[in-house]
């Protein structure tokens, strides 16, 4: 039980000491698929937490389409060991903890500036695109333009980060979630795919990885699955969160299948590796265990 959080680390290659081939290494693409019954957002939160704690040099670019900043901020605060992380993110918080300043003063300042504090710290960049809309007139162009604009924002952020001497900090780009980007693009799959391909190119050029959350059950037919099969093709890690076949239980929230695709470089060939877990989501993290190993 105590070692259980490491199962996800192990499956994603995030163990300390392993630098290559993990989910947070250069050019790596992680696809998270979930369904209405079982949300996969907790994996996203886990990856954010790991990315920010990974030898404390990781940087996260978060495309928040599904929730406002406060949602993520609170969840991450509740995840274990995260207070110290946030203290690093917000030096003012540490000040607060030491009681250096009265609380009232602190909050007066907090109200308007949380995103700017992030930007000052340049560890967590949140693209707050919850209300992202592409204006409806002359639809196709506006969608294209909007996505190009979004991409160029990401690109410039990545370039700014990597131009800084940050000891080659690893940048993770997270998208929560892609299906909403599709809705914002009014279903024009080509544009979304173009956007993704640009992002993928970016990850291979810079020290980046891309983590995408998408829903599996919204693509019913073969034609509709085009986007999903593209994603599956591109991804190095495919994580599926599914409900249990027997329905949801109080102590098992669902099952997780992590597929690590085989790679072949420099004559080294590694085969596909799939691992299957049951999971239970908690406020301070997630418990993973092998099916049947917990009674």
């Amino acid at each position: 039980m105590n070692t259980s959080p490491h199962l996800l680390d192990e499956a994603l290659g995030l163990m300390p000491g392993i630098s290559n081939g993990g989910a947070l290494s250069q050019g790596c693409i992680v696809l998270i698929e979930d369904s209405v019954e079982t949300s996969g957002a907790f994996i996203l939160h886990y990856i954010v937490k790991r990315a920010l704690s990974l030898d404390s040099s990781g940087i996260v670019l978060f495309l928040a389409l599904a929730h406002p900043f406060s949602h993520y901020e609170r969840i991450l605060r509740k995840l274990a060991n995260n207070l110290s992380r946030l203290c690093e993110l917000f030096p003012k918080m540490a000040e607060l903890r030491q009681g250096a300043r009265p609380v009232t003063e602190y909050f007066a300042e907090w109200k308007g500036c949380n995103l700017s504090v992030h930007r000052e710290q340049k560890r967590f960049h949140l693209f707050d695109i919850l209300q992202l809309e592409f204006p409806c007139e002359s639809k196709k162009d506006s969608v294209e333009q909007g996505l190009v604009e979004l991409y160029s924002k990401i690109q410039s952020a990545v370039e700014v980060i990597s131009s800084r001497d940050h000891s080659r900090a690893h940048i993770s780009i997270l998208i929560d979630d892609l299906s909403i980007l599709e809705i914002a693009a009014h279903g024009s799959m080509d544009h979304v795919l173009n956007f993704l391909h640009y992002c993928v190119t970016l990850t291979s050029e810079q020290n980046c990885s891309l983590v995408i959350l998408n829903h599996e059950d919204i693509y019913p037919d073969i034609e509709g699955r085009r986007l999903l099969s593209h994603l599956v093709y591109l991804a190095d890690f495919i994580i599926k969160a599914e409900p249990l076949a027997t329905g949801i239980a109080a102590d098992v929230h669902g099952q997780l299948t992590v597929l690590k695709k085989g790679t072949s470089n420099n004559g080294h060939y590694s085969a596909d590796k799939a691992s299957n877990f049951h999971f239970q989501v908690k406020e301070h993290g997630v418990d993973l265990f092998f099916p049947g190993s917990r009674c």
């Binding site: 209405v36 019954e37 079982t38 949300s39 957002a41 907790f42 939160h45 929730h67 406002p68 900043f69 406060s70 949602h71 901020e73 609170r74 969840i75 605060r77 509740k78 607060l96 609380v103 009232t104 909050f107 907090w110 109200k111 308007g112 949380n114 919850l130 209300q131 809309e133 409806c136 299906s179 909403i180 809705i183 914002a184 009014h186 279903g187 829903h215 059950d217 919204i218 693509y219 019913p220 037919d221 509709g224 949801i248 239980a249 109080a250 929230h253 989501v281 908690k282 406020e283």
Partner: protein
Amino acid sequence: MAATRATRPSSFSRNPSTSAAPSIPLPGVKLGPGNAAFVSSGIPDLDRILGGGFLLGSLVMVMEDAEAPHHLLLLRNFMAQGVVHRQPLLFASPSEEPRAFLGTLPTPIAASKEERPRVPGPNQEGKEQGLRIAWQYKKYFGEQPASQPQYKDVKQEFSNTFDLRKSIERHMLSSQNIDCVSIEKISDLAPLRERCSSFLSKLNGDNSSIGLAGRIAIQSLCAPQCGFSDWDMVSFVRSLRAMLRSSRAVGIITFPSSILPHSFSKRWQHLADTLLSVKAIPDDDKDLAKLLTGYQDMVGLLHVHKVAQISSQVPVILEANTFSLKLHRRRSLILEKLNQAPVEGSSGTSYGTAGPCTASFKGSSIDF
């Protein structure tokens, strides 16, 4: 509530200037653990099941039964509760004259008539003071389901029981807080989006309704007579959800999921924070009647698919997902867990004769 929530972290929010406002109970708003604020669904049982009610800032979706109007029961109670609390209400419907629907809202049953013992009036003030303190302490005990005994006393104000046979008194509907929109004639959803956003911005700005929680009710958004395109509708739902997140309001949308293409129905369901579905019960299903007790009194089934979880990653696991909708004394709506009727014949008697534990253990292992 949600507006302040967006900018303020919870655990440290003891700043008197900011935390004083939410601690004064707003009419019809109940504070739960972790800075959550609820408004009532108009059905006390549903509030209890959902852990306090509908979360402010969330989007509730109800999947309709294509052949029965049971979703209207939920919609009516939700709207009537808002009218009772004098909360601003925006109602959109595919009918020609949406205002006519307001005439069918049920009337609240006076609390004194109820059989459940309530707190007498004079004590109320002191009681509330105590509760407020209890809420403050709750933070330190971690999250607990909101259906604590202490909440029961507040319920009297928070949610009413409605008499479905009588319609609400006219004078309650005459307030200016009720806004009706027909979505039958409009060709795209931009005007409705405008209405919703101006409605929500009024909640934050206007002095008369400041501090009041708003309610948006949209009936059968994807009804065939409207003829919106699939992408238009799903992007409307998405932008409504985004707008609600930063406001102190609850949106409820009912939709006949069976007439949407499957993939879009799933997209809608993903966008819902709280997802419910209603189903009618066929009158003469003899098998089902044998299986369930109280089958005669049931009007339908309510299924809870998702419960809103803002600022938390832990899914809410309910003890039961399916509830029977019943009419209590033929007038008020109640929800009950499904009870399996005792099965006649062999297994029932075998349990009866089994006697002590060990014996029944044996018996059951043979039986199954």
